[in-house]
C-alpha cells in the first residue's frame, strides 16, 4: 500500500504558497482542520483564495487567517460570524463570493468525480444566476455550475490510516469528504492515525487514492459555536 504519512501540519502545508487556492472542510467550526489552519497562520502565507462553507469566528478557524489578512478571496455559502471579516469586506480588502451551499458541495463533488460542470436549480432567477448559463430540462430551469479547481484541499477526519483512508465522525463529516476528493493535492489531518489494515474497508468514507498527505493532529479544541441544551 502507498504510504501517505507526513510528520505534521507544517510539513503537510509546506508547499502552499502565496496566491494558492485552498479548500477547507468543516461546517461552522465543526470538523475544521485546526492543525493545518494554525500552520497556515504560522507560515503567514498570503493572498489565498479560500473555498470553505463558512469563514470561522474572530478568534478561531479561518478567522485566524483573516485577522492576519492572509485571505484575498473567500468562496462560501454563509459568512459574517466574525467582525473582522465584516470590516475587511466592507472596506474592500476582502473579496467574497457567496454561493448556495448545495452548489458549493456539488462543485466539489464534480471535481472529485471528473465532471466539468453540473446542473442545479439553486439560484435560478436570482443574482446568483447572473452571467451563468441557464438550461431547461423537463420544464425546469437549471444553472450550469463548474467544478472547482483548487490547488489544495485540507480536511479533518476522525480516523485515518497510513494509506490515506479516512473515516469521519458524526456531522463533522459535512464538506470534508467532497473536498477531499476535489483537491489537486489533498491534505488530511486526523484525530487518530492507524496502520493500513486497521480500518474496515467497508466503512471508509474517503478512499486513500484521494488523499496525498496524512498526519495525526494534536490539541483539538473542537469549539462549539452554539451550545444549546435542554432542561
Amino acid at each position: 500500500m502507498i504510504n501517505k504519512v507526513v510528520s505534521g501540519a507544517e510539513e503537510a502545508i509546506k508547499d502552499i504558497s502565496d496566491g494558492a487556492c485552498v479548500m477547507l472542510g468543516g461546517f461552522g467550526l465543526c470538523g475544521i482542520p485546526e492543525n493545518c489552519i494554525n500552520a497556515l497562520v504560522a507560515k503567514q502565507v498570503k493572498n489565498l483564495t479560500c473555498i470553505s462553507n463558512n469563514a470561522g469566528v474572530d478568534d478561531f478557524g479561518i478567522g485566524l487567517m483573516l485577522k492576519q489578512r492572509q485571505v484575498k478571496k473567500m468562496i462560501s455559502s454563509y459568512v459574517g460570524e466574525n467582525a473582522e471579516f465584516e470590516r475587511q469586506l466592507l472596506s474592500g480588502e476582502l473579496e467574497v463570493e457567496l454561493i448556495p451551499q448545495g452548489t458549493l458541495a456539488t462543485r466539489c463533488l464534480a471535481a472529485g468525480y471528473g465532471m466539468p460542470a453540473i446542473f442545479t436549480p439553486a439560484g435560478v432567477g436570482t443574482e446568483v444566476a447572473e452571467g451563468k448559463e441557464v438550461r431547461n430540462f423537463d420544464g425546469k430551469d437549471y444553472l450550469m455550475e463548474y467544478a472547482f479547481d483548487a490547488d489544495f484541499a485540507i480536511v479533518k477526519a476522525w480516523k485515518g490510516d497510513t494509506a490515506g483512508n479516512l473515516i469521519f465522525r458524526s456531522t463533522s463529516r459535512n464538506f470534508n469528504p467532497v473536498m477531499a476528493m476535489a483537491g489537486k493535492i489533498t491534505i488530511a489531518e486526523v484525530e487518530e492515525l492507524v496502520e493500513a489494515g486497521e480500518l474496515d474497508p467497508d466503512q471508509i468514507h474517503t478512499p486513500g487514492i484521494y488523499v496525498h498527505r496524512i498526519f495525526q493532529g494534536k490539541n483539538y479544541e473542537k469549539r462549539i459555536e452554539q451550545l444549546t441544551v435542554r432542561k
Binding site: 462560501s76 454563509y78 469586506l89 448556495p100 458541495a105 436570482t126 456531522t171 463529516r173 452554539q226 441544551v229
Partner: protein, 219 residues
C-alpha cells in the same frame, strides 16, 4: 393574532405521517415542538443528518454533532449521517417532503426573498437557495407585517430574491394563505380575532378571499 409559537403550532398541522422535513432557522425550528403524537416524521438537517433529535442534556453535548444552525443536537434511533453533497443531493432529488423556512418578503407569484438586504452586511444564503429551488412543498413561516408596519406579502419582492415561483403556503401571525398557481394570496384561515379587513389591509399583494374564512385552529 398569533405568537411565533402559535405560528409554529399551526404549521405543524401540515406535517403528515411519514414526512421527511427540513426546518429552517427561527420560527421553523419551533415547529419540531408541535409535531402531533403518532405522526412519524424525520427531520433533515442539511449539514448532513437525517433524524435530528432534541438538544442534548447539559454535559452531553458533542462538538461533532450539530444542526444547520450550528446548535448542538442529538441523533435518534434510525438516524443517518452523510456528507454535504449527498445532503443537497437528496434535497434536489425532492426526497425531502416538506421544507419550512422564514422569509423577509414573499410575492404573490411565490417568489421569496430571505437572504440579503442591500446596504446591510450580507451573511450569505447558506442552503436556502438550494432548498427553495428544489423542494416540492415549501411553507413559509413569517410575520405578515414588518416592524415599520409594512406588508411583507407583496405584489413583487423588493429585496434580492432567494428563489422564484416556489412558495406554496404562508403562515403568519394573521393568517394562513396559499399562493395560487396563477398568482395571488388565497386567504384560507385567519388568526383568532383578526378580521378579513385587517388582513386585506396588511397584504400589499393581491389577496383572494372566497367564501367563509374560518379562524385558524391549533387543536
Amino acid at each position: 393574532m398569533f405568537s411565533k409559537e402559535e405560528i409554529a403550532q399551526r404549521i405543524a398541522k401540515e406535517i403528515k405521517d411519514g414526512y421527511y422535513v427540513n426546518l429552517g432557522i427561527g420560527i421553523p425550528t419551533l415547529v419540531a415542538n408541535y409535531i402531533p403524537n403518532g405522526i412519524n416524521v424525520v427531520l433533515q438537517s442539511e449539514n448532513g443528518l437525517l433524524g435530528m433529535g432534541p438538544f442534548p442534556y447539559e454535559g452531553e453535548e458533542d462538538a461533532d454533532l450539530i444542526n444547520a444552525g450550528k446548535q448542538t443536537i442529538t441523533t435518534l434511533p434510525g438516524s443517518s449521517i452523510f456528507d454535504s453533497a449527498m445532503s443537497f443531493g437528496m434535497i434536489r432529488a425532492q426526497k425531502v417532503d416538506l421544507t419550512i423556512l422564514g422569509a423577509m418578503e414573499v410575492s404573490e407569484n411565490g417568489d421569496i426573498a430571505n437572504w440579503k438586504i442591500p446596504g446591510k452586511m450580507v451573511k450569505g444564503m447558506g442552503g436556502a437557495m438550494d432548498l427553495v429551488a428544489s423542494a416540492k412543498n415549501i411553507i413559509v413561516a413569517m410575520q405578515h407585517i414588518n416592524k415599520a408596519g409594512e406588508s411583507k406579502l407583496l405584489p413583487k419582492c423588493t429585496l434580492p430574491l432567494t428563489g422564484v415561483k416556489c412558495i406554496k403556503k404562508i403562515v403568519t401571525e394573521l393568517a394562513v394563505l396559499d399562493i395560487l398557481p396563477e398568482g395571488g394570496f388565497k386567504l384560507l384561515e385567519r388568526a383568532p380575532g383578526v378580521s378579513i379587513e385587517f388582513i386585506q389591509q396588511s397584504t400589499a399583494g393581491r389577496l383572494v378571499v372566497e367564501g367563509e374564512i374560518p379562524e385558524m385552529r391549533l387543536d
